[in-house]
Amino acid sequence: MIDATGERDADVLIADGRVVEVGPGLRGDSELDAAGCVIAPGLVDLHVHLREPGNEDAETIDTGARAAALGGFTAIVAMPNTEPPHDDPTVVASVLAAGAVSLCDVHAAGCITEGRAGAALAPMGELYALGSRIFTDDGACVAEAGVMRRALEYATSLPGAVIAQHAEDPSLADGGHMHEGEWSSRLGITGRPADAENVIVARDCMLAELTGGRVHFLHVSTAGAVELVRSAKARGLAVTAEAAPHHFTLTDAECASFDPVFKVHPPLRSAKDVAAIKIGLADGTIDAIATDHAPHAVETKERPFEEAPPGMLGLETALALTITELVEPGVLSLPEALALLSWRPAAIAGLADHGGPIAPGSAANLCVIDLNVTWRVDPLRLASKSRNTPYVGRTLKGRARHTILRGVPVVVDGQACR
């Protein structure tokens, strides 16, 4: 068993949705075998697109939450770029209601601005009252410095609230479809420069200092952004950051296939950026691994690269990629990896019932990880409604064997209970 307090050999006894006892030789009425596996707090994903309401042919709250449970997650944060977006309490309430009967806890991020248009503030207080703690216009950057300043200021009146930025300056990135560099130049595809991300991260660190507000950088992808976050943290600013598995696994060279399954915003970057993300994960600069799970219906990715929408699946491959790309090569220890996948993101989102520690009285949100199983990614066998995984045919190591949500085994031996 591994949680934030350390590692030990133990059984976990659960009753009424809570951990009752942790220790050797415990017995229960029904038992889940975890021999040779790691028991950890359930994984927490700060960044998931569930597409409902508005785009249910790509994903629904139910199918996305099921994919999350199969990936070992017990809590996910639904991004607000639905149609309509999470800028209205009725929309957020409907998302939460659907999430409440799904296989994973679904939290709803609220919009920063009305319609994610980057101008007027969304009703953050009303959304906060429904439970939203992360506010973001994700998919769109809050480009106007003045709007970002007021959002950060306003959020300081909501304890635990954090402003999460999709850091890509649209005046530099718009019209681009992949990382700007050697490959974009060769392929004749307009690029999204790394500095589109860096200038916003630099600016928002300054605005965090000006306002005393909390800022979280979504899907950090550049060496420059990692360095800016590192120096902001060194100055004591309330800054956190997440990185997505594709940004520590894949580079822009993948785009040479012209297969839009490799199209994502921010884009797959250079090998130098990938290396910097790994260092940022290892040295604590980056606080969380978040999937940016972005389902798209098959036909929308059967277009030329420049005409396809950005985004890739992530929920069912995140844990295995973390183990395969980071733990196995020794970039991270297993406890460090689980911190990035569970208790550190839980702390950012203020999810007291998730991320452990696994101790008597705590909510029984757990996952049991088989570190030794290897499996091949087959898009047809993923639970998501969509098929846009960039890892087709890859062999990965490690998988969630069981997932337990408030004491209920929702995934047992890799099979969802429904």
Partner: protein, 307 residues
Amino acid sequence: MKNLLSITDLDRDDLETMLSLSEDFLHVTERDIPKVPALQGKVVVSLFYEDSTRTRISFETAAKRLSCDVMSFSVGSSSVNKGEGLRDTVQTIAAMGVDAVVVRHSAAGAPNRVASWIDASIINAGDGSHEHPTQALLDLLTLRRKRGSDLSGLRVAIVGDIVHSRVARSLVLGLDAVGAHTTLVAPPTLLPDSLEGWPVDVTHDLDSLLPELDVLYLLRIQRERQSASRLPSLREYTARWGLTVERASRLKPDTLVMHPGPMNRGVEIAAEVAEGPASLIKEQVTNGVAVRMAVLYTLLGSGGTVA
């Protein structure tokens, strides 16, 4: 070889073979009846998602001179206007039984996608800002007809909107394969963001280069670039990078002037220069038909000799 998606699908030997074959077909096109039965019964579809005059007519002429049956697909009068996607469109065409599809598309890599969906041979007739391999072939054929089959050491400048140019991306690689020396000349705002791996020199100064050049290859300046704050004005472009009559007078007497068309006369090239004795612009078009015959013959032919 099944497809021609990029000029890099041809190695140096393939390139020489293709150019020699193109010369053979050029002789065919000079006959009284410029038609051979080499590909009788083969079906070629031209699938153009973007407006084109010369490339489309050139391919269709080439196919007809090889006795192919040619079907022409225009986006404007097709099911694309009813919302049909690229994959469905090409699979529908493929289901009718076609041997080759000539694809022109505004998006880079569209022919690569098409090639992954259907079995027919795919020929890239220009994809976004990516490549235009048959243009590079016809340019090399044109140079070869003027300078002989050894083009090594030839000093070539490609001038203009490099960043958006599929012609430049193919031609740079083609010129490198035959041993020519290429310099890209453009305002910094019209150069690719990275030239790592490109076998070229780069300058912003056309004037200093003029006396040394064997070939001056001009690219069209697209008017919409001005609005994207890449150029102050077309007038300023002409003043700094246009091939004016005055600049043309500073070229060596035997410097060749080329342009893939369509031209903006008075912007990147003065009308007098385009019509002048150094200009190969009309030959380029003529050679285009022979090159496309060679490409179709190579992809679809049974390997026999040219009739």
